[in-house]
Amino acid sequence: MSLRLQTQGKPLPSLTRSLLGRITTTSLESEIRPDHILMADLLPGQNDLRGYAGVLTRESVSPDWAEDLAQFAPAMIHSVSTLEHLQEGDVAAMNPNGSVRTLYRRGSRHNAILVTERCNSFCVMCSQPPKRVDDRRLIAQHLRLVELIDPTTEALGITGGEPTLLKKDLLWLIQRCKELLPTTSLHVLSNGRLFYYGAFARDLAAIGHPDLMIGIPLYSDIDWEHDHVVQAVGAFDQTLVGLQHLGRYGVPVEIRVVIHRDTYKRLPELAEFIYRNLTFASHVALMGLEMMGFAIPNLSDLWIDPVEYAPELVEATSFLAHRGMNVSIYNHQLCVVPREIWSFCKRSISDWKNDYLPECGECTVRERCGGFFSSSLQRGYSSSIRPIVM
């Protein structure tokens, strides 16, 4: 079951630009109200509306009433279809078109800021295809979001698109995360190509974020095979030099390998390449394919049943583990992975796009199984899926 991350209502005319706030359902002291969006099924009295960044309500507001309200409640979306998915402490954006998007959920371990939709690669299986839009000005919103996120949050992701295209703004965002969320571990997904510029890696390291990891994909030990997957000549070289720079400046990196028909054959050789050339990597994630975005039109070329590449997966995993490297298997169902490497399988799929099949109900290891991307359930999965009964 997917989680709801958006809802719709009717904006009052005073909502002229998007605004962010922390959700509250209780009346707050006036000095902290500007950071909050008050959420109420029925609107309270005047004094209890004053001073908030915005107000969300299921109640329907007539035009006359709206005029009244406009004097002390500057931003409001009313007649909102559903609000149950929003919780105290979540952060939402109220948009002039009446949409309410959840940007942060306090109860989730899978929060991420999508900082740009632009990308300098064009991966054949990209789950979030890049767009050629100028979204650079959104940095203000991302910075505001960091101010509103609960500082006790365990983990936060920064993703895209390609976040490094923000250049100095990305560094600024990470700097702010360090200041405002000092105990939140920060995980940035990047193709690593821009760290080819050593100064950029050095400046990132200089921030001194105490718990930062850059997750960078590497799809092959052969330049042209990697370049083909990311559809960019020279990307392999840039990424490798980038990784070396990050390693040299002591920024922790994670290597992410998506396994599909173009990448599974040399998985063991790639593991050895990583061990020999990128020994400093903090983590290696061997990941199953997510059937979203470009993976859909390319599916017939990319799809391979995980049971078919089980030998390569076992060899690569054990090679790295036997050499003391921290390796995990993501996005795989336990029933398609040989039991000897089950201990490396992580429940990696974000809760809002994670699902199981009806037959999984009988499975005795379902609790430890990562399950499926919701998208895979519609588009296809291994023919070997079956409940494990022990």
Binding site: Q244, E272, R276, N277, S318, R339, E340, T364
Partner: protein, 508 residues
Amino acid sequence: MESARSDKPRPPLFRPLDHYRQRTEGYRLLPFRFMRWPAKEVLLVNDVGEFIFLEDQRFKAFVGHRLDLTDPRYLDLKAKHFLLDTESNVPIELLATKYRTKKSFLEGFTKLHLFVVTLRCDHSCHYCQVSRVSTNRSKYDMTKETAKKAVELMFRSPSPALKVEFQGGESLLNFEVIRYVVEYSQELNVREGRNLEYVVATNLVPLTDEILEYLRDHSILLSTSLDGPEALHNSNRPRKGNDSYAITVRNLQRAREVLGHDRVSAVMTTTKLSLGQPREIVDEYVRRKFGSIFLRSISPYGFAVRTGEALRYETSEFLSFYKQALQRIIEVNREGYDFVEVYAQMLLTKMLTPFPSLYVDLQSPSGAGLGAVAYNYDGEVYASDEARMLSEMGDKTFRLGNLHEEGYEEIFGGESLRALAAGSVLETLPGCTDCAFLPYCGADPIFNHRTQGDVIGHRPTSAFCSKNIEIIRHLFGLIREGDPFVKDLFTRWATGVRSEPMTRYKVS
């Protein structure tokens, strides 16, 4: 449905693999060395120790620039940086990084500091180079004044980690100076902030409860000698009363109780008498619950040479012994007991990992002076333990200076060490430059000097060379045989990853 799908061309947005497989015409060879292997194969090793076996025909095609890029080994050779087929310099940069890592044992300069606190000893082992059975303290003991100078000199070394090893003679006979060195170095270390480690090499005979408590309180490790079963040990290591084995075993137990089981290790020396007992020696170590054994051949110094023919054996005899012992060690592991052979472990680290070994006796340039230094009881400073043994035989070639007469710059920057370093870079030595095993081996200029008359030496007649070549070849052979248990075991030794990560999944 299925066929209709695959007939559909990929969206034109995406380019095919061939578009990215642009490369220069042909390929260039990157530096590597090679060695003929049985069964019509060739072993190729590059400068950073990565290796690949190729069939003769394929090897010829490769070096003749005729290997096609559709050959499955082509990609392996490319990924391991044996060939270069792009204009990019990134593969060279990766190689450079790997090379720096392999040579990183040089970082920090001298790390191992041997303090020869006395020459006196109650044993008179046949193979011992230097010990004196004497009660004359003033003649053979290091004084506190000398020890003080040595500690101060040690701290001149830039290394963030310093290892102090107390040697003899029987080092514990001068425990007072051991204690002085520990305390003075810790006093200085309040300001210096180095990572200090102490090891006492001892036959365990003088061990008292008081000494044990001191060692425990200062986290000091013990290294002792155990040559094998009782008869062999006592024969190799004679002392008055002929009870060396009994004392070693008894005091080993006491030491483990006070210091902790893993705080005491042992080394063995192979004599002519040992040669027939590889299995018994290994089993003795296992019975005594050691986690490792170091199978050492006898060295051509001191008494070992003076006692002459009676104790000498051929390198081939040692190699046969070594292989049998290693075989037994593998069996022991197969039976479920974790047990390491230290020399093989050191070589395997170089063969199977991107890292160097920190073992100072097999490096290029040699670890003598650069990685280790010996402060003799009389204040003389030598490039290594072997160098000071040589001096006891009257040959002071590798004397670096004197604690009371010279300073750090003169001792570590002087002619003696410069000559030693310059003459111990395998990459420049005749017979080594084109040896496939160079990245795994090391130089022993002192051995060359002692046995062949100069630091460069003559490889075809060098016992050091034939021993190492054959051990490395043997290890490769075992890997090549493909026994998965042996491959896993060797990987565990090489990487030091002791845990069993492939744990069976259990449903609770």
